[in-house]
């Protein structure tokens, strides 16, 4: 079964590779990956879909949590969460089926983002299964081309992100110690 992992990480060079490196080092193939800034521009949220053996899931998440740039990695697979994906699809449809295509698009809540004599470009969001279905349906009308964004997920549990407090450098800690001794 595919796992959905949500990772909250610092928006720093290399941070993304560190996370994905943990997966590739273990021979896991990433099915999809999205990453973008959060409200705080110094942080990013990443959603990874990956096929990890059940018994190693917790281990992989722990390893992600150990990374210096990672604030929190959570397994959304079985947790209360909403997962969505965006699909852009181009379908070549002959004149006679244009209306049917539009009808079908409406059923799936897809928007037309481009229309030409050859056919349409459609945009639709939903969970991955819904998008699979939509692709299946559109295929029956003609040649298609698709581009999927990969899943983005958000946990429905209101867990507060715990940030680690600053610590003193060695030299500063030493100074403080000396101060402590001097001032009793």
């Amino acid at each position: 079964m595919l796992q959905i992992i949500s990772v909250h990480l610092e928006n720093k060079p290399g941070a993304l590779l560190r996370v994905t490196g943990l997966l590739s080092a273990r021979g896991y193939n990433i099915e999809s990956l999205t990453v973008a800034r959060t409200l705080d521009p110094e942080l990013s949220r990443m959603t990874i879909v990956c096929d990890i053996e059940d018994r190693l899931r917790a281990q992989v998440i722990k390893q992600m949590n150990k990374l210096v740039n990672v604030l929190q990695a959570t397994d959304l697979t079985d947790a209360p969460a909403v997962n969505r994906e965006l699909l852009l699809l181009r379908v070549r449809s002959p004149q006679e089926s244009r209306t049917a295509v539009l009808k079908e698009a409406e059923i799936f809540g897809a928007r037309v983002v481009d229309s030409s004599v050859d056919g349409f470009a459609l945009e639709v969001t939903g969970d991955p299964e819904k998008l699979d279905e939509f692709i299946g349906v559109m295929r029956s009308y003609g040649e298609i081309e698709v581009s999927r964004s990969g899943v983005v997920g958000v946990s429905l549990e209101g867990k507060k992100l715990k940030l680690q407090p600053p610590v003193l450098t060695r030299a500063a800690a030493k100074l403080e110690e000396v101060d402590g001794v001097l001032n009793g």
Binding site: G14, L17, N65, K66, V68, Q72, P165, V167, L168, R170
Partner: protein, 570 residues
């Protein structure tokens, strides 16, 4: 000040007194700043050895070891050492030069993607892009390397950052919002652990490198004595409990002692402290401590339940946790302490009997120097007090078995990675860290030939290291496996050319000698340690000796092969 001087200022503030490295084009500004700087730079003969030496320094002191290399080939040469320190959780800060920022990505001369290459073999790494961020990064690197589960951190610094001018503004705080260090341990879990210990009839301690990293040797000793239970130290943990301690039962695992492996296999409670249930210790995991409940204390949450699911997991610094555990045990002692005294005493006796029944082989021969004889003699001279580094192979296992260590940080070896070529440079780092100490580097004739260039570093610094080559004419450990598992088809393991030790050492300006008679051994070692400078003693030992006990890989640890098959008469 320029970037190089600012870097050195940061190192001073991190209390670095010496570091190991090798210069090159992009680190020229750094070496220029070092020219009249109080920090000592030790010029090694290969960057891999700079990292190994820094590890030797760190392992001998607990302080962060520092190494330095130039861009490109210098940086790639560090990689083995970085992986080694990652595997053994050794605090290292590695500084590499990089081509100037505007050249990065242009395939410039000696450019390599050091940041990318070392991502997987460091605890964390940095590419510095401006001088302004340099001090913060350096202090962060030291903090990350030495806190939590220690490990290597690499800082890649472009040449123009070294050259840029600026000021050092003191950095007082480090803010790493995602870097979690768990030290305290859960009070409730610790209390439950104390209860479980007093409930046990056959408790057994399995102590590892984490005990040494956290400086918990005193607490370990208190624990073992309070409950009067037997304890093993892993290859990484030797010295955590003094080898001459009555409760110490040597090392467990593939070449561990009979008593250690039987103890683990038969205990009803395994107290695992700063260990990672490594496959060389556990053998077949399903058969490891099959009847035991497990208490596992480790500072790294990812180690808990990685290989064995514990009954009581405790995430925390072993020292802090043991302080609390001991307090709890003490408080409960009145009520529970006497509960299982009889079975516990019988268990102690049982383990002692196992140790007596099958001690390590220390046999000697009249005609040849057996490896075990050589190592026992070094043990006699060290008496648990010398620093002993080894390389990797049979000699490493015999040393771990037969040499006593009365304190932590005396025993220095490449445990997790098993990197040949480690022993000699690690001894260099250890001797710099502890000039007061007698340092033996026990190496195989294979591994020694990987580190011969470092004889130059030893000679030019007059380091009084006693290099003992256990020369069996083979890549002994591989030969042993070929003999036992590949029908003795010895393929590419014969080392039939070894330099004349006297001439080799002589060429570097110090003394060396080769011996092969058992009668010469004691004297030759005495002469070596009395020599004020370095000494190279090449000891020709029995060629086809095997290390026992041995748990064949994939076997259960109580299914040890105790010795060579006894020939059966037909």
């Amino acid at each position: 000040m320029n970037g190089a001087q600012i870097l050195l200022e940061c190192l001073v503030r991190e209390e670095v007194d010496c570091f190991f490295g090798y210069p090159g084009g992009v680190t020229l500004p750094l070496y220029d700043a070092l020219y009249d700087h109080p920090i000592k730079h030790v010029l090694v003969r290969h960057e891999e050895n700079a990292c190994f030496a820094a590890e030797g320094y760190a392992r001998a002191t607990g302080k962060v070891g520092v190494c330095c290399a130039t861009s490109g080939p210098g940086a790639t040469n560090l990689v083995t050492g970085l992986v080694d320190s990652m595997m053994d959780s050794i605090p290292i800060v590695a500084i590499t030069g990089q081509v100037s920022t505007k050249l990065i990505g242009s395939d410039a001369f000696q450019e390599a993607d050091t940041f990318g290459i070392t991502r997987a073999c460091t605890k964390h790494n940095y590419l510095v892009k401006t001088l302004a961020e340099l001090p913060k990064i350096v202090h962060e690197a030291f903090y990350i390397a030495s806190s939590g589960r220690p490990g290597p951190v690499l800082i890649d610094i472009p040449k123009d950052v070294f050259q840029a001018t600026g000021h050092y503004t003191p950095v007082d705080t480090i803010h790493l919002p995602g870097y979690k260090v768990f030290t305290e341990g859960h009070a409730g879990q610790i209390r439950r652990a104390a209860q479980m210990i007093w409930e046990a009839e056959r408790p057994f301690v399995y102590a590892g490198g984490g005990v040494i990293a956290s400086g918990a040797d005193g607490e370990l000793r208190e624990l073992v004595e309070m409950v009067d239970m037997p304890a093993v130290c892993t290859l990484m943990g030797l010295g955590a409990l003094p080898s001459n301690h009555p409760n110490f039962v040597s090392m467990p695992g593939m070449h561990g002692s009979y008593a250690a492996n039987m103890g683990i296999s038969n205990c009803d409670l395994l107290i695992a402290l700063g260990v990672r249930f490594d496959d060389r210790v556990t053998g077949r995991l399903a058969a490891f401590a099959p009847n035991a409940r497990v208490i596992h204390v480790d500072i790294d949450p990812a180690e808990i339940a990685k290989n064995r699911i514990p009954d009581i997991p405790i995430v925390g610094d072993v020292k802090r946790v043991l302080q609390k555990l001991n307090r709890n045990l003490g408080e409960m002692k009145g009520e529970h302490g006497s509960r299982n005294t009889a079975p516990r005493a019988a268990w102690r006796q049982q383990v002692r009997d196992w140790a007596k029944e099958h001690p390590y082989d220390k046999s000697r021969s009249e005609t040849e120097i057996k490896p075990q004889h050589l190592i026992s003699e070094i043990d006699r001279l060290s008496a648990g007090e010398a620093i002993v580094t080894t390389d990797v192979g049979q000699h490493q296992m015999w040393t771990a078995q037969l040499v006593r260590f009365n304190h932590p940080r005396l025993w220095i070896n490449s445990g997790g990675l098993g990197a040949m070529g480690f022993g000699l440079p690690a001894a260099i780092g250890a001797q710099f860290a502890r000039p007061d100490k007698l340092v033996f580097a026990i190496v195989g004739d294979g591994g020694f030939q990987m580190s011969i260039p470092e004889l130059g570093t030893i000679a030019s610094n007059g380091l009084p290291i006693k290099i003992i080559v256990m020369n069996n004419g083979h890549l002994g450990m591989v030969r042993q496996w070929q003999e036992l598992f590949y029908n003795n088809r010895l393929s590419s393991v014969r080392l039939d050319c070894f330099p004349d030790a006297e001439k080799l050492a002589g060429a570097y300006g110090f003394k060396g000698r080769t011996i092969e008679k058992p009668s010469e051994l004691a004297d030759a070692l005495d002469i070596a340690i009395k020599e004020p400078g370095p000494y190279l003693l090449n000891v020709k030992v029995t060629q086809f000796e095997n290390v026992y006990p041995m748990v064949p890989s994939g076997g259960a640890i109580n299914e040890m092969v105790l010795g060579p098959p006894v020939p059966v008469a037909v």
